[in-house]
């Protein structure tokens, strides 16, 4: 980069807070953020592999030949085989599909429940808000994974129940987040003005307030995708989640545990996969936070 020396207004003080940047400006800044781009890349590869798993997996993830059990990586089986002779690479790929499904479905559920709840609670205040906040407090009185375990204890295991359990656990944070934004925005002049000209409450919430919640929601969603994956994997690891023979990364690690000392290679791939994907979502979330609202960095 060339440095040209010009005496442009020798201003040392930071400029007054700039007007809110347009969408193209945001994308430009995002592209410049290396962390976000790496994260996006990881997620891209992950999604692609997940969606194409049926096509590119060399073997069936559930059919195994016992003769071939616990083999190390070979040309036929790039990652080796597990204790039932199933190809680990294929299970990993199908597992990606399962994970992606769990993540997207549960986060979608969480948003569908949490965002309106936060909006209504924050906007109307009063007893609705009080009761909501007490309920949220109670939900938050159980540390995350324990709440998930508790819900799983009630509704049982299986893929759809994991989705529900993890979705429930994620709701409180989103409710609080949206509610916080709403509380802040309610006093802003343009909202007060809208009420003044008689706009209906739903209209105000949708047209004026909701757009202000988008940025924090986007950041939190990316980070939540990471958390969801970790929770779902933990549940499956404990046996409370996805049931065999469905290939889930957490369940694969649980199986691997029994044969860990005999065949350590089985523990490698699923763990690495989870870590890398979670890193990807965390990187994207961090980058989004930096770009969309540097002030949020404290949260």
């Amino acid at each position: 980069m060339s440095t040209s020396t010009r005496v442009v207004g020798a201003s040392v003080e930071p400029a007054a807070s700039p007007p809110r940047p347009g969408r193209s400006e945001l994308f430009r800044r995002l592209r410049k953020n290396r962390g976000a781009m790496v994260g996006l890349g990881i997620i891209g590869v992950y999604v692609a592999l997940a969606l194409l798993s049926h096509v590119i997996a060399p073997y069936s993830p559930t059919a195994g030949t016992l003769d071939l059990r616990l083999q190390g990586p070979s040309r036929a089986h790039w990652l080796g085989t597990d204790e039932l002779g199933r190809d680990l690479l294929s299970r990993l790929l199908y597992g990606a599909g399962i994970s992606l499904e769990i993540q997207t479905t549960s986060v979608l559920l969480t948003l569908l429940v949490g965002v309106p709840w936060g909006l209504l609670s924050g906007y109307y205040g009063g007893w609705i808000d009080e009761v909501s906040m007490r309920v949220i407090d109670v939900m938050l009185a159980f540390p995350g994974i324990l709440l998930a375990i508790g819900v799983a204890a009630i509704i049982g295991g299986g893929l759809s129940n994991v989705v529900i359990a993890v979705a429930i656990v994620s709701v409180p944070e989103f409710v609080r987040l949206v509610r916080g934004v709403v509380l802040g925005m309610r006093k802003l002049e343009f909202v007060v003005a809208a009420r003044g000209i008689g706009e209906s409450a739903p209209a105000i919430m949708l047209r004026y307030i909701l757009p202000g919640t988008v940025a924090p929601i986007v950041v939190q969603t990316s980070i939540r995708m990471a958390t969801v994956l970790l929770f779902a994997a933990s549940l499956s690891f404990l046996g409370l989640g996805v049931q065999p023979p469905t290939p889930d990364w957490g369940a694969m690690l649980s199986n691997a545990r029994e044969y860990m000392f005999l065949a350590p290679h089985v523990t490698a791939a699923p763990g690495v996969a989870i870590t890398v994907v979670v890193i990807g979502f965390n990187l994207l979330g961090d980058g989004l936070r930096d770009v969309l609202d540097p002030r949020m960095r404290g949260s």
Partner: protein
């Protein structure tokens, strides 16, 4: 100060009530007849009638709830379906173990995390900073149970330094607390670094330097003190994460903690244990949060006013 504490405690009451309602409803939310759940599928009609009488299942729900709460307050945490013995003692001893593990892990996480965060902030944009931040990112992204397995493989399997499981006193706590401490340290390091970077930009840091205060004091007495404020407010939450993590990690190392107790109880459908276990864990978490809030207010006088 007293007023602040009283206010916080009062706020707790609705939460504790809510928690007790939640754990009480566990039994009733599970699909199926509570009597059958408690008695098992082998129970006869006679047994079931007896169970209904004993557990007051014929009463309306609010009445049952009141009985439940009064039992809890009298120290009766229920009877295991499997062993037909009171669960109180087992729960308390297992909970103590888990709390010990969590406490040690939290201390490790704080010590390592704060040191790393400060080091990274002081060498902002250097390779030390980048390395520490990559390490922290990995630390919060790695599933704790996987790290546990890996360490188990390395230290127990290959090197045979440490036992693979069971409770042999403090030795058994080493690996699990390293596992938990790592994820906690990673999160705390990130927070500390961000906070330090922000604080060192503040006006009062400039004033201190202009007054000739040595850089060492500026950073470690003034900047760090202020930077730790937001970090300390989340210690309670960190404890919660680690508490949950402990439950999972304990199952890997076969430790006699809540993890083993809870998970086994869930699989054997021994719901009284699950109910009371969740209740205790939650009450502990809430209690710890209260303590950290009070401790924080002690240290940060602005909050009290």
């Amino acid at each position: 100060m007293g007023r602040y504490v009283t206010a916080r405690v009062l706020l707790l009451i609705p939460v504790l009530i809510g928690v007790s309602i939640a754990s009480f409803s566990l039994l009733h939310l599970i699909p199926g007849d509570p009597a059958v759940i408690l008695g098992g599928t082998q129970a006869t009609e006679e047994d079931l009638a007896g169970i209904r009488k004993e557990f007051g299942l014929n009463d309306p729900l609010p009445v049952q709830y009141v009985h439940y709460v009064s039992r809890i307050l009298h120290g009766d945490l229920g009877i295991s379906i499997r062993t037909r013995e009171p669960v109180g003692e087992a729960l308390v001893s297992h909970l103590t173990f888990t709390l010990r593990l969590t406490a040690v892990s939290t201390l490790i996480a704080m010590a390592v995390g704060i040191a790393a965060g400060v080091a990274a902030a002081q060498r902002h944009n250097s390779w030390v900073d980048s390395t520490l931040m990559v390490a922290s990112l990995t630390g919060i992204s790695m599933p704790s149970f996987w790290l546990g397995l890996l360490l188990l493989l390395i230290f127990s399997g290959t090197l045979r330094w440490l036992p693979a499981g069971g409770n042999s006193g403090w030795q058994a706590l080493i690996l699990p607390s390293v596992v938990l401490g790592t994820s906690g340290a990673a999160a705390i390091a990130r927070m500390t670094r961000g906070s330090m970077l922000e604080i060192t930009r503040q006006d009062y840091i400039r004033t201190l330097r202009a007054n000739g205060i040595p850089e060492f004091l500026v950073v470690y007495k003034h900047a760090l003190r202020n930077a730790l404020n937001p970090v300390l407010t989340t210690i309670g939450l960190q404890f919660g994460y680690l508490l949950g993590g402990a439950v999972v990690v304990e199952t890997i190392f076969s430790l006699p903690g809540m993890g083993q107790l809870l998970i086994n109880a869930i699989f054997s459908r021994d719901y009284p244990i699950v109910q009371s276990g969740m209740l205790l864990l939650s009450v502990t978490f809430v209690g710890v949060n209260l303590l950290t809030d009070v401790a924080y207010a002690l240290v940060n006088p602005r909050i009290r006013y």
